[in-house]
């Protein structure tokens, strides 16, 4: 009892002060609503500003200038990359499918064992069986080349960062900005400089996926202990010897982690790059979306998902340290090692172990014979080299047998019988069945009635009022309000920046579009909360539900974001409501995740205390756990807002409006200035909201002493 009395006394003392700020906000809100009713038409920036600030025209003039002067060079770069890309693509498409499968399977077996081997085998067979082999190869080619270039340039830049503090200081802000930018933003300048097709896609992807490799190379090298370096120097190593013989080898695990992240990011953008004319799985998905073929789009999305999982697991397996098992335990090849305690699992694993040993024996014996012959031949010239080579081959018998298998397949393919591309007859596609299932639902009258009423409710009570409110509200009021918020939440300097950025948006004559974008982002974030938080609460109470949730959320985050348009379009048709819904589906995972995280992070002591004071589950949740989870929730808010903004660029495909549509129209009409202005507008809005909510999170965390 004492507990409750204390808090009530505490709050009553501050009652008066507590009311001031809400009071001001409420008054401002009323005033703004009055302003909206006063205005006749949508709020627009004064004509003298928009007419003199012709950003669009400047960009287009700049483009013409670049076209005449710089494009020769950028085009040459693009042409070179295109040659490389075509070479790689030709290789992947012309090689027999068995060869490609083996090429992916053998390293996976080497690093990830049978488990990863099965995954890779399933993934590659799936590409072929749904008839997307060619597209998967194109995506692989795009991704492979961009990752290769990204790692090449990224490692060099990372080394520079590690060696020079000044270079690192200059690089850091750029890396920070790159991390906030939505992926799509990279495609516009790439198209601007390098044209359309695979080459600009590769170059954009290379730049987009570089930050993690730069950061982690830098970090890895800097983490090498000073003592090690000094020892090396004391033994008379030169600077470059220290770098290449000591620092880089020790930084390798960190670099490998960077490579893994780079691969994942590259895959995401390569799929998206279909918007600037890149081929591959992304293009298939996009075409299916455009044709409302939900089954085909789903299968394409699944191919991408499998590819992402495969590379992720491979990267993890390759950079993992070898685990030394206790002597008495049996090594598991397929099942998790922790199941070692179950006799059944041991029983299942036994035959696998024998097979593994037998295969290893066969291959190592063959390789031994091979290395012996090599040794004999080389020994004719130099005995030492012969011995060394023999040892090397014997130590890497797996790699050499892999190469032999690959060569064998090539020989079989070119000299005995052509294997060719994936056989069409091995078809397991179920796209027609999926499409039929969805179709049967969409013609169901009850379903139509339900979707229509949801749509009408959201449009009439949420979307249209907020759209009208934000677009009719005079621009000076909106700018003023946002500036004050950013002043209070961050600092005066950022408030000035906010004012400047918002004025830029207004002066570009895209104020109305920006407000429509803001409105749809706000509503989708609101609905994300309304739907996501309860799911998160449920998940935090049930372990099983949480597991299912995790799997779904993981899958959702790997899918390229225009995949979310498919189900929405299928069930709800086109229009601003569908755009909203797609945004919600895409942006909801962080909210759910961080609600779960926030609630489960609350130390059990607090809930125990609450329960011992007689608090019910609901009270514990709403009074103790939830308030403590707020910082985590705000973090989720922040991520959700960013994702919602990113989604605004693809929603025009199904009837979204605002800045995203401006980007699309600008691109389609080759009006780069217009597309760029709108693209920058989205980024600026996202940046402002990002900074404000991050600062707010920090304050909350500090206040709670976390």
């Amino acid at each position: 009892m004492a507990f409750t009395q204390d808090t009530s006394a505490f709050s009553s003392k501050n009652n008066y002060q507590n009311l001031i700020i809400p009071g001001i906000i409420f008054a401002a809100l009323l005033f703004s609503i009055w302003l909206v009713f006063q205005s006749e038409d949508v709020s627009e920036f004064p004509v003298f500003v928009t007419d003199s600030f012709t950003f669009t025209a400047w960009v287009n003039q700049g483009e013409d200038f670049l076209k005449d002067n710089i494009k020769v060079y950028t085009r040459a770069v693009a042409a070179y990359v295109k040659e490389l890309y075509w070479m790689l693509e030709d290789f992947l498409l012309d090689s027999s499918w068995v060869f490609i499968v083996a090429l992916l399977l053998i390293p996976s077996l080497a690093f990830g064992g049978i488990k990863l081997g099965f995954l890779v085998l399933f993934g590659t067979m799936y590409w072929g069986m749904v008839g997307l082999w060619g597209s998967a190869m194109e995506t692989l080619a795009l991704m492979g080349l961009s990752v290769f270039l990204s790692v090449l340039v990224g490692v060099i830049l990372g080394i520079f960062c590690a060696l020079s503090d000044r270079f690192e200081r200059n690089m850091k802000p750029a890396l920070d900005v790159m991390q906030v930018m939505p992926a799509f933003v990279y495609l516009i300048p790439a198209m601007f400089f390098f044209g359309i097709g695979g080459a600009p896609a590769i170059l954009a992807t290379m730049i987009y996926s570089m930050p993690p490799i730069i950061r982690l190379t830098n970090l890895g090298i800097r983490q090498v202990p000073n003592e090690t370096i000094e020892t090396a120097t004391a033994f008379g190593s030169t600077k470059s010897q220290v770098l290449f013989k000591v620092q880089i080898p020790l930084a390798l695990p960190s670099i490998m982690m960077g490579v893994n992240q780079t691969i994942m990011m590259a895959l995401a953008l390569v799929v998206l790059a279909t918007f600037i004319g890149a081929q591959g799985l992304g293009s298939d998905i996009w075409v299916s979306i455009k044709k409302l073929e939900v089954g085909a789009a789903l299968e394409g999305g699944f191919c991408v998902l499998l590819m992402a999982i495969m590379f992720d697991r491979f990267g993890k397996a390759a950079s993992r340290e070898t685990v030394t098992l206790p002597v008495d335990s049996q090594k598991f090849y397929l099942l998790p090692q922790t199941w070692d305690i179950y006799p059944t699992a041991r029983y299942i694993e036994k035959p696998l172990q024998y097979i593994h040993l037998a295969v290893a024996f066969i291959f190592s014996s063959i390789i031994r014979i091979f290395s012996f012959v090599i040794n004999l031949v080389v020994s004719l010239f130099n005995k030492d080299y012969g011995k060394l080579i023999e040892q090397f081959i014997n130590a890497h018998y797996f790699m050499f047998s892999g190469i032999f298998i690959l060569l064998g397949i090539i020989y079989y393919d070119s000299n005995i019988a052509t294997i060719g591309s994936f056989p069409d007859s091995w078809n397991l596609s179920i796209r027609d069945e999926i499409a039929a299932g969805v179709k049967s639902l969409t013609v169901n009258p009850t379903f139509i009635e339900i979707t229509r009423s949801i749509r009408a409710t959201v449009v009439i009570y949420l979307l249209r009022p907020l759209d009208t409110y934000l677009t009719y509200l005079p621009y000076w009021f909106t700018i003023g309000a946002l500036v004050i918020i950013s002043w209070k939440a961050v600092n005066l300097r950022f408030a000035i920046v906010t004012a400047f950025l918002l004025t830029f948006i207004g002066a570009c004559n895209i104020w109305t579009e920006a407000m429509i974008t803001l409105s749809s982002v706000l509503i989708s974030v609101l609905l994300c909360f309304v739907i996501g938080v309860p799911i998160g609460i449920m998940a935090s109470y049930s372990k099983r539900f949480q597991n299912i949730n995790e799997v779904i959320l993981d899958a959702m985050q790997t899918l390229p974001y225009f995949c979310y348009l498919v189900p929405v379009l299928m069930f709800f048709g086109g229009g601003s409501f569908s755009a909203l819904l797609a945004t919600i589906i895409y942006a909801i995972p962080p909210i759910i995740r961080l609600t779960v995280l926030g609630l489960s992070q609350v130390s059990t002591t607090y809930s125990e205390v609450s329960r011992s004071f007689g608090g019910s589950t609901l009270q514990t949740l709403s009074k103790i756990k939830f308030p403590l989870a707020v910082p985590s929730l705000v973090m989720g808010f922040n991520q959700t807002v960013m994702m919602a903004f990113a989604m605004q660029i693809v929603t025009p495909l199904i009837g979204g409006k605002g800045l995203g549509l401006e980007v699309f129209n600008g691109l389609a009409r080759s009006d780069t200035g217009r597309a760029l202005a709108a693209g920058i507008g989205i980024c600026l809005l996202a940046m402002i909201i990002d900074r404000i909510s991050l600062a707010y999170t920090k304050k909350q965390r500090d206040a709670l002493g976390l």
Binding site: F91, I403, F664, S670
Partner: protein, 334 residues
């Protein structure tokens, strides 16, 4: 030390792939095509591509790229070698980039005086576009004579999203340059044009309304399979009158009522358009000769449209079916 093993394996794999690469066959005759973003255009494209691939031994990379000025610029820049079935009254770049007259059956159908960065030849398809209402609406409302009466019935055409205004299911893609809203505004029609993003979305919306027997106004073009299943009536927009000042350079200065865009679309002699440098090179002489001779007929496209739109065939299957059933195309080969 696992990582170093990984690196070595990786290097070995890369090296071995490059070994194979150098032995691989090079495709000398390789072209890049932009596939059109509507079914009819896709069919025309597939007809051209199947001729190039199956008869003339080319390899054609198909790129998905929204039609519009951006595509014309991509062709002029040489990123894409050719694209199919451009409709002159939709293209705005044709005036700027073509400089040779367009021939149809030996007669000049359109004069051009642009930069010559792009060249074009007619496909044989002749297109027409209009706004349509369903026949059941006209039958139920004998007062409805044409576009002048739209305002009287706008309440029936209104939807949740358009509020008090009527709804036009407009041109789906911005890059098509339909100027729907501009047309409605100049003509004083109190409707809002809704841009759904794709042809399929437009058809789905219209088909849904048709199935529910609701009144709706839609943009569409001929030949199209939608007319096969649904009875539609054109609203008789005023006949096409060009307007020279309605360009981006002139800040879209319109010529008032009765002139473009406040008029119907022109009869469109559609064309395949391509990059002159690539197509006039020696190795692409056959492709160029084919494009000069290609004469695809509306009737054939209409048949294939029905096979794709109603019978659920893929564009490739429909074109293959047509190609196997006739020899007309033999005459287009060089």
């Amino acid at each position: 030390m696992k990582t170093s093993l990984f690196l070595k394996t990786f290097t070995a794999l890369i090296l071995s792939s490059f070994l194979v690469l150098s032995a691989g066959t090079a495709h000398a005759k390789r072209l890049t095509a932009a596939v059109a973003d509507w079914t009819g255009g896709e069919i025309t494209c597939q007809v051209a591509v199947s001729m190039l691939e199956q008869e003339l031994g080319y390899r054609v990379d198909r790129i998905e790229f929204a039609s519009g000025t951006g595509l014309w610029e991509a062709i002029a820049a040489g990123d894409i070698d050719f694209a199919c079935e451009s409709w002159p009254s939709y293209a705005e770049a044709d005036e700027v980039m073509l400089n040779e007259p367009l021939y149809y059956e030996g007669e000049v159908v359109q004069e051009y005086s642009g930069s010559g960065e792009v060249i074009a030849f007619t496909t044989g398809i002749i297109g027409a576009s209009d706004y349509y209402v369903p026949k059941y609406f006209v039958d139920a409302n004998p007062d409805f004579k044409g576009w002048e009466d739209l305002n009287k019935f706008k309440d029936q055409f209104a939807t949740v999203e358009t509020g008090s205004k009527g709804r036009l299911i407009g041109c789906p893609v911005a890059g098509w340059n339909c100027h729907d809203q501009k047309r409605l505004d100049i003509m004083g029609i109190d409707f809002e044009a809704v841009e759904l993003g794709t042809e399929v979305a437009l058809l789905a919306e219209a088909q849904g309304s048709y199935d529910r027997q609701e009144p709706f106004l839609m943009y569409l073009w001929e030949p199209h399979f939608f007319f096969g299943k649904n009875e539609m009536v054109g609203i008789g927009l005023p006949p096409h009158q060009p307007c020279d000042s309605f360009t981006e350079a002139n800040n879209w200065q319109d010529c008032g009522m009765g002139s473009w865009p406040a008029s119907n679309w022109a009869k469109d002699y559609t064309m395949n358009y391509m990059n002159p440098e690539t197509m006039q090179s020696a190795e692409n002489a056959e492709a160029l000769a084919f494009f000069k001779k290609m004469k695809f007929a509306n009737v054939d496209q209409a048949k294939m449209l029905v096979r794709v739109g109603d019978d659920g065939l893929s564009v490739e299957e429909a074109v293959q079916e047509w190609k196997d059933s006739t020899n007309d195309w033999q005459a287009w080969l060089p």
